[in-house]
């Protein structure tokens, strides 16, 4: 079976940059054309590998931001100023360049199109990326699964996908958007203006009886606060799925 894809085998694929769009001052979305891409499920990620001329390699994991779309995928990358990989991806890559990636990987943190009950998405900063893939997949499928997104960002300008989220929620009674802006709020702001705490979760989270699953993604302390808060509020730990960034060295 020379050349045939082996089930489960992960191969590094050449991915060509076809589009780059700024999202916020610190984040960019990079669209790749990946010949041989097997398709993915919303919430999965890819490993990205960069190789320097002297052979030195650096690998990082990035969540896929886009819904399933043939051989094309999008990653949204936050630039970490002292990072090794993210400044290259956000500042140096140009359309036509290629990088290596493998995936999709991870079946644990993925959108379930058959979820029974309300799905609760909780994102801190760029932790919204895999949740956006879920919101996009949900919209693409015309899914009616009640879904609430709680999105914590520092300021209104740091909200990634702001316009698209507004548009998605406006046309869909089943998708609720709740923002909290932790550092500064625009004049007349009616959303929350603090870090996610137990009281905020008690107001925003679906009741344990109706929660299908919660997907929580963000920096490790954020995920820790949300996940332990949900358990304190009576949610079953197995229904709270987490994806922590940690300090990855970006």
């Amino acid at each position: 079976m020379e050349g045939a894809a082996v089930l489960g085998r992960l191969n590094w694929l050449e991915a060509e940059v076809v589009e780059i769009r700024p999202e916020t001052s610190q984040t960019k979305t990079i669209g790749f054309e990946v010949p041989g891409w097997p398709g993915h499920r919303a919430g999965q990620h890819v490993d990205v590998r960069l190789t320097a001329e002297d052979g030195y390699q650096a690998e990082r994991t990035y969540s896929i931001a886009s819904a399933v779309d043939d051989s094309r995928i999008e990653l949204t990358v936050e630039r970490l100023d002292d990072g090794e990989v993210s400044p290259y991806l956000t500042d140096e890559l140009r359309p036509g360049d290629t990088i290596e990636l493998r995936g999709p990987v991870g079946g644990y943190f993925v959108w379930d199109p058959h979820a029974q009950g309300t799905v609760f998405l909780v994102g801190g900063g760029s932790g919204v990326v895999p949740l956006m893939a879920m919101a996009r997949q949900r919209a693409a499928e015309g899914s009616k699964i009640p879904t609430r997104l709680l999105y914590s960002a520092r300021t209104w300008d740091d909200v990634i996908y702001r316009d698209e989220l507004t548009r998605l929620a406006a046309g869909d009674a089943g998708l609720d958007l709740v923002y909290t802006l932790t550092r500064a709020q625009p004049p007349g702001w009616e959303g929350y203006g603090r870090r996610v705490d137990l009281e905020l979760l008690a107001e925003v989270a679906p009741a344990p009886a109706v929660l299908a699953v919660a997907f929580v993604c963000g920096p490790t302390p954020f995920v820790e606060a949300v996940a332990s808060g949900l358990v304190q509020l009576g949610h079953v730990p197995a229904r709270v799925k987490t994806e922590r960034f940690g300090p990855t060295g970006g």
Binding site: V6, L7, G8, R9, L10, H45, V46, D47, T61, R102, G103, V105, G106, G107, Y108, F109, T220, P221, E224, A238, K241, T242, E243, R244, F245, G246, P247
Partner: protein, 89 residues
């Protein structure tokens, strides 16, 4: 809580490379306390190698060290690992 902590899910690529199957939905049983849970949801610490710990009792489940093309895997903290090949794509 440790700010360096990640989830088993973050090692999905490496695990799939080693085991040849999607492993974050595999269910591992902790040798120390007997708790069973999905590999994607266990605690993961990244240092010179990867250390997977039980979210219930904090015992070490699994250690993986990557060196060039070699992979060194210590599984002594796992009593069992159960895969569903239907999910392993």
């Amino acid at each position: 809580m440790d700010a360096l902590m990640l989830d088993g899910n973050a090692a999905a690529g490496l695990l799939q490379e080693i085991f040849g199957s999607e492993m974050t939905t595999a269910v591992g049983t902790c040798h120390a306390c007997g708790t069973a849970g999905e590999v994607g949801g266990v605690f993961l610490y990244r240092g010179a190698g990867l250390v997977f710990r039980c979210p219930q009792c904090d015992a070490v489940l699994m250690k993986i060290v990557v060196g060039g093309t070699r992979r060194w895997i210590d599984l002594r903290g796992l009593r069992a690992l159960e895969l569903d090949l239907e999910l392993g794509t």
